[in-house]
């Protein structure tokens, strides 16, 4: 089976998830202020090993740094915490003062894990780095020209450039160069001058349409930036060819999350409850591939078969048969997707969490899915 459902806690919508570097433990948040850590047991089930309970309001995003093994969480309570695991296995928290007056919406560790970026409803991106002397996390702000809530951030491999998607329908690339902790970066395809908070590029999702930006993703080399918007579109900007942006308007429901799973391949998932493959050609043009599984509505014929139940349903629901169960594995919109095994050049397994509280692991390297991916090669 190419898609396997895992049970990590109750069937309450999962807001976000992140994996440990050995992929044995997953951190999830079930739409509340707690972050729960589940460890996979030999039999395949998941046991809850820890609860990280410091936030006062809903946890909006979690990121787990693979090398330094630090977890960062951000919440609607305008705070972020960095969690470090002690020798005894217990997680100790450090409050990070983001200095924002609205909820924090998204957080990501930088590739070298010495900084992390937090987007917020305060129209500010907080770039936080560790001040070694005082042993606390300092936040620097990027404000201009953000005009609305930042919904998503992604780092460029050079540890300096950051892409941010916003509810003002724009995607921007900023420099987050902090001279106290890192050497001056060399020029990239996105530009040469990189003082802190410099706007390197700005792309508008709105001339042909609109829609909040839900996810942004740099490819492996950092030469291309892909994003998905609420107008059911997916777009890719190519820096080497002069910031050319190619947008595809799909006839599906909007996507909420996005991953590069190959040098020319994107996986997007969202309100259709199933990941969809996209291919990007050498010119940057995006074309839609297959969904990872077909689904239609499944009619639950078991109890509703009898005439009595049919009329009962007609009276209660207005229709004879109960067909609200989706044919896809997920029963609700997918809002978070991570590469479980592999990397942006070759992803073998991908995990998704959704509003149905389920964690599903998709095996891209074998079985039916591999066939679909192979068919996608041009």
């Amino acid at each position: 089976m190419s898609a396997s459902i895992q049970k990590v806690g109750p069937a309450i919508p999962i807001q976000c998830h992140a994996w440990s570097s050995d992929r044995q433990t997953i951190a999830v948040s079930h739409n509340d202020k707690l972050v729960e850590l589940y460890k996979q047991q030999p039999g395949g089930s998941w046991n809850q090993t820890d609860i990280l309970d410091q936030h006062d309001l809903r946890v909006n995003d979690i990121d787990w740094a693979p090398n330094t093994n630090r977890i960062v969480t951000c919440s609607a309570d305008r705070n972020a915490y960095v969690w470090v695991q002690g020798a005894d296995g217990k997680w100790k928290h450090t409050l990070v003062l983001l200095r924002i007056n609205r909820a924090a919406t998204c957080v990501r560790w930088s590739p070298q894990e010495n900084k992390f970026a937090v987007g917020s409803g305060a129209r500010i991106i907080s770039i936080c780095y560790l001040d070694e002397e005082k042993d606390w996390w300092v936040a620097k702000h990027i404000r201009k020209p953000l005009r609305s809530t930042i919904t998503t951030v992604d780092w460029h491999p050079n540890n300096i450039l950051l892409a941010a998607g916003c509810t003002d329908f724009k995607v921007r690339v900023f420099s987050t160069y902090i001279k106290e902790i890192e050497p001056k970066p060399s020029a990239t395809e996105w530009g040469a001058k990189m003082p802190f908070a410099n706007l390197m590029a700005e792309f508008s999702n709105s001339p042909t349409g609109g829609g909040w930006i839900h996810a942004v993703a740099f490819n492996e080399e950092g030469t291309r930036l892909a994003w998905v918007g609420h107008d059911s579109s997916i777009a890719v900007a190519d820096a080497p060819s002069g910031m050319v942006m190619m947008k595809l308007k799909t006839n599906l429901l909007p996507f909420l999350s996005l991953l590069w799973i190959g040098p020319n391949r994107l996986l997007a998932a969202g309100h259709d409850c199933v990941p969809v493959l996209f291919h990007v050609d050498s010119a940057g043009k995006v074309s839609q591939g297959p969904k990872l599984e077909e689904g239609g509505n499944v009619v639950e014929a078991t109890a509703a078969a009898s005439a009595k139940n049919m009329f009962k349903n007609k009276d209660r629901l207005g229709q004879e048969l109960v067909d609200s169960r989706l044919g896809t594995t997920h029963q609700n919109q997918i809002n978070s997707m991570r590469i479980l095994e592999g990397n942006k050049v070759e992803a073998r397994r991908v995990s998704t969490t959704a509003g149905d509280g389920a964690l599903v692991i998709w095996n891209l390297a074998s079985g039916a899915l591999a066939g679909k991916l192979a068919a996608l090669k041009i």
């Binding site: 129209r123 005009r147 003002d168 329908f169 107008d231 059911s232 006839n251 599906l252």
Partner: protein, 173 residues
Amino acid sequence: LDSLHSENHVNANSEVTFERIGKMSKNTKSSAFRRIDVDQYNEDNYKEEVDNEPVTAGPNENEVTSLLSQNKQIDALKHVLSNAPLGNKNQAIKDASLNLVLRVLLSFKTSKIEEAVNQLDNEARDVLMKYIYRGFEVPNEGSSAQLLVWHEKVFALSGVGSIVRVLTDKKKL
């Protein structure tokens, strides 16, 4: 008491007091302050970006009428869709264009609708879907029934995505 309500009443003995009361009542007499929209002064408000892109003035009515009279309905359809005044600030132009488009849509025989929709490209179908929903807003003699057929044909090709774009697109018809 009485003096609070009648400003003109001035008592020579306590002019100053009454003057002050007069000033007080003058301040509270007008309730215009209650009608100020204080939210516009909130500095956290989202400020829409000023869009300087040129907008079309809408389809040419004469051209459309002549195409319709020549029975070139599909051409008329293509003309009105490619000249749609998206994002135009002039409401009169938008209303006139809507009426023109509805005329074109309702001039089709139901059996010819599918063929017409097939000839449009994706951009045009998105604009058409926007007009279909605008048409639903102003129903008249049998228009909604015809529009529902249009809706079904466009939906078959452009899916829910086109309907999502009706809701999210910045440039309204």
